[in-house]
């Protein structure tokens, strides 16, 4: 997979396997006995909650802890019909807090009709109020921020990691829904431009669409959002700025297809498509209700991960590990990757030998050899001021090539997280 031209004379590049001609089959995961939905924010112990254990819920029903929270966008759409069996706090990566809601599924499925009545007249309010948790996590909340108007929507038909093929699958198979989604986005938002980004090979298959089509070489790390913006808009994202600061919103192809499907059918889609990558690197596409424990995916494939294997949400370069088979499939779970114990690359605490591999591979032209020295010493502010910490686009290639096996990527993420915590603390304490 790693194509190296003339050994090390040229920068190593990852080729990407197109799913193009040979689409992996789509496997549906049967209705799970229990789903877990994650709701942003944690409940106050004394608070009177809108939902409680024992409540019956319908598929497509909106669940939230309180009306105030619901208005701020903290809601989930129930993906099944059943009864709430447990509500408990849940901590995600980097200490993010969630409230987990377990729902035991019932045998018959009933659809919630609330959204159906709104489908005839699509508005931004409806979309924000019902569709923020769609498969693919459309960033609809960005449009309600008047300070940062969104001028351009980029629909990403590529996936932001190696091996992952979820969005490519949507570009190939769900173009009709994407087209509907584009029409709706045009109607409900005031954007000047909608661009759909697809791998070069797919351009001819798209046909009529109310959006500009941009073709990108599907190579890692060119497929990362920062690089896509640079290629198609000729614009560099200033260090430390978000896409919305530039007036750009990134939608995954899956999210746009889901928006299209929602308004077309009047039913909020609750099925997430993800790429399942097994230990041998074989890929299949999987359809599962949001909230399905990933253990159910393994059961469908009769795979049983061993002790000391690694379960990864996302792809091999940028994913994150989970520690339990009960972890649910979330709206942004694009891939599930199982790695065998023997394939696991270990990191080390060896010092940087200054070989320069990371400097040469860095797509953001950061002096990683110097940056890592500051990061290892915990001097995050100097790292940001002098050595371009915020220019990092988080591709993970520096860790991939590191001769000393330093977890550079993790140091960078940690530094950004610590700095953001410091800034928040400064802001709240005046």
């Amino acid at each position: 997979m790693l194509e190296k031209l003339l050994s090390n004379l040229a920068t190593p590049r990852f080729g990407r396997e197109y799913i193009g001609g040979t689409l992996p089959g789509l496997q549906s995961i049967p209705m799970p006995q229990k789903v877990t939905l994650l709701l942003n924010g944690s409940a106050n112990p004394k608070e009177q909650l809108l939902i409680k254990e024992g409540d019956a819920v319908n598929t497509g029903q909106k669940l939230s802890l309180s009306e105030e929270r619901e208005e701020n966008g903290a809601y989930v759409i129930s993906s099944v019909t059943g009864t709430i069996s447990a509500i408990y706090p849940f901590t995600g990566d980097f200490g993010r807090t969630y409230t987990a809601i377990d729902i035991d599924t019932a045998t018959t499925e009933t659809r919630d009709e609330q959204f159906n009545s709104l489908k005839e007249d699509p508005t931004l309010e409806t979309a924000i109020a019902y569709l923020s948790g769609l498969p693919g996590n459309p960033p609809l909340a960005l449009f309600s921020n008047a300070e940062k108007p969104i001028r351009t929507i980029i629909i990403n038909g590529l996936d932001n990691d190696l091996l992952v093929a979820t969005n490519q699958y949507f570009v190939v198979t769900e173009m009709d829904n994407i087209k509907t989604g584009v029409e709706i986005l045009r109607k409900i938002t005031a954007v000047d431009r909608i661009i759909i980004v697809v791998p070069r090979d797919y351009v001819s298959g798209i046909g009529e669409i109310e959006a500009d089509i941009a073709a990108v070489d599907a190579q890692y790390p060119e497929i990362l959002p920062h690089n896509i913006i640079r290629h198609i808009l000729g614009q560099e994202v200033p260090a430390g700025k978000n896409f919305e600061d530039l007036g750009i919103a990134f939608f995954s192809a899956e999210a746009v297809a889901s928006i299209g499907e929602a308004f077309e059918s009047g039913e909020i889609p609750v099925t997430k498509t993800l790429t399942f990558i097994d230990k041998r690197g074989e890929r299949t596409l999987v359809e599962a209700k949001i909230g399905t424990p990933i253990g159910d995916v393994f059961k469908t494939y009769s795979i049983s991960p061993k002790d000391k294997d690694r379960l990864i949400i996302g792809g091999p370069m940028r994913g994150s590990c989970i520690y339990s088979e009960n972890h649910p499939v979330l709206p942004d779970t694009d891939a599930l990757f199982v790695q065998d114990e023997s394939d696991i690359a270990r990191v080390s605490d060896y010092p940087c030998i200054n070989c320069g591999e990371c400097v040469r591979i860095c797509p953001a032209r950061i002096s990683v050899n110097m940056l890592i020295r500051f990061l290892e010493a915990g001097q995050y502010e100097s790292a940001a001021d002098q050595y371009d910490l915020y220019s990092c686009i988080e591709c993970g290639l520096c860790s991939f090539v590191c001769v000393s096996k330093i977890p550079i990527f993790q140091y960078i993420r940690l530094a950004k997280y610590e700095l953001s915590r410091m800034n928040t603390a400064e802001a709240t304490n005046g």
Binding site: G240, R310, G319, I322, N354, R365, P407
Partner: protein
Amino acid sequence: MVDQRKFIVSHAPFWHSGKNVAQRSYGIIIAALPAVLAGIYYFGMPALGVISLSVSFSILWELAFNYVAKRPNTIGDGNAALIGLLFGMLLPATAPFWFVITGTFVAVVIGKQIYGGIGSNPFNPALVAVAILMLSWKKYFDFDGMLINYDFDFTPFYPLVALKAFGTSAIESISILDLLLGRQVGGIGATFGLGLIVGGLYLIYKGYIRWEIPLSFVAGVFLTSQIFNLAGADRFAGPAFHIFTGYTLIGAFFLATEDSSSPVNVIPMLLYGLGAGILTVLIRNIGMFPDGVVFAILIMNLVNPLLDKIRPKAIGKVV
């Protein structure tokens, strides 16, 4: 819930290119072998003795330092062996045993470990040792004196000294082919030009060193010696002579390219190599030492951190 399996949890990326430090060190050692074997062929068993002693004592010093400093054992990364090999390659074949042992101590302990070990040394450890020993016991680096008992079937004197003392007329008899094939007086591993070039190209091919440094080093030597040669052909030898004698080639491919003490960005690498090449010829032609490679590279090591500040603007950097 109780009988849950325990998975390994770690952070991205979950793949690694598989390169490691030991592979790198041993790769460089392999690349140096042709030159070492040629040295043993021309200088005989004493050369083998010096090389073996140098490699083994470098490893022992590193082991001893790890033990004293209560650090994890690092000899497995091959770096100490590499330093020992390079140091041995620079010595005359008849260097006495205590000289080699002292030199490896200076290289490994003073040149590398007291700065914090691999990756932290500001200077090339082998060159630090050569410089200190050269200043302390000058006569052991006098190749003519050291190799006096040899009966060579080629020019039996150290070309650089002859050039310095008698001008270009003294070196007219030396053919470039002899220099390339190692038929010259000099350090054990520094004479076989062809072997060093092949080894160096192998290193570039494998990605253990970058082409910028050796190329600009040789270019620096070439340009400067050409200018000197044009100014006074009777006193100053031409570029080919300077490139194939003394430590030039081993310096260009094996010494100047040491990871920790050389730059990583492209323009700094070019400047670094060029600077070392120019200084080499300046020291040879107008300095007091016959060969300038050792001090030229050490001086460039010194400015390396400054040079490496010349770097491309990072993406999205707001000045």
